[in-house]
């Protein structure tokens, strides 16, 4: 019963944090620490959103085909979905989560970031998950090569 209550409260707080834009949104660092230590993309998505069905549509990720330097790889995420959050993951670095965007009523989902991606020899896959306001989850993938790793310093 305790646990049930706790979960319910969590959901309530989440709804409150997302709906009015003027209210301070969630700090996912504090709210979901497990997201930031997850070692695989699947685990990170599970830690962030739970065991949800991911729909492969509506999310566009753009990167160069080959990133010259892994120290600063430009990544662009675009989507027209009415969203609550957008989370970006990758499978090259020791931990999977890169960034989580909180979407508010002013937001347009067209974000550019520069990420460090470790060169692992294999192509790197960048994954973005959009949590829609309709309660569904949308996923997009983009695979690229990194010529020189960026995490080793």
């Amino acid at each position: 019963m305790e646990r049930r209550k706790f979960l319910g409260m969590g959901l309530g707080a989440l709804a409150l944090a997302v709906v009015p834009a003027s209210v301070q949104a969630e700090d996912w660092r504090k709210a979901k620490p497990a997201v930031w230590t997850a070692k695989t993309v699947d685990d990170a998505i599970k830690a962030m959103y739970g065991d949800v069905k991911l729909i492969e549509s509506g999310v566009t990720i753009s990167t160069p085909d080959v990133a010259a330097s892994g120290g600063a790889v430009p990544i662009n995420i675009k989507s027209d979905i009415k969203a609550k959050t957008v989370a970006v993951f990758q499978n090259a670095d020791p931990e999977s989560t890169v960034i989580v965007f909180d979407i508010n009523k002013y937001s347009i989902i067209d974000f550019d970031i520069k990420a460090k991606l470790k060169s692992v020899g294999d192509p790197v896959t960048v994954t973005a998950v959009v949590e829609g306001q309709d309660g569904k989850y949308y996923i997009g993938n983009r695979t690229l090569d990194v010529a020189l790793g960026g995490c080793e310093g």
Partner: protein
């Protein structure tokens, strides 16, 4: 007030922002290599951008952003020419970063 460089432009009702945070963004791996202790890692945890007191952009971030990370984002429905965008961030060590830019 100079931890962020912010450029913002208003065009057809959409404000496009390009911002750079001045931060080393040390990962656990780099910290371990350079100082021998992964706990010396320091990177930005959370960034908020506000216009006229309203949050327009908010992110929680990890160690995997580049050094002096650049962000581009857009928003609409708020902000006119001359308004200020205020960006604040906190890093792993608890330092606060702050910057201000004008919408042109």
């Amino acid at each position: 007030m100079a931890d962020f460089k912010i450029k913002a432009k208003l065009k057809k009702g959409v404000v496009s922002v390009k911002a750079m945070a001045k931060h080393e963004m040390t990962t656990y791996d780099i910290a371990k290599k350079q100082t021998g202790d992964r706990e010396n890692a320091n990177f930005i945890f959370h960034i908020t951008a506000t216009v006229n007191g309203e949050t327009v952009w908010e992110v929680s971030t990890s160690q995997f952003l580049s050094k002096n990370p650049i962000f581009k984002y857009k928003f609409q429905g708020i902000g006119k020419k001359g308004d200020h965008i205020i960006m604040t961030a906190t890093d792993r060590k608890g330092h606060a970063l702050k910057g201000k830019g004008k919408i042109k």
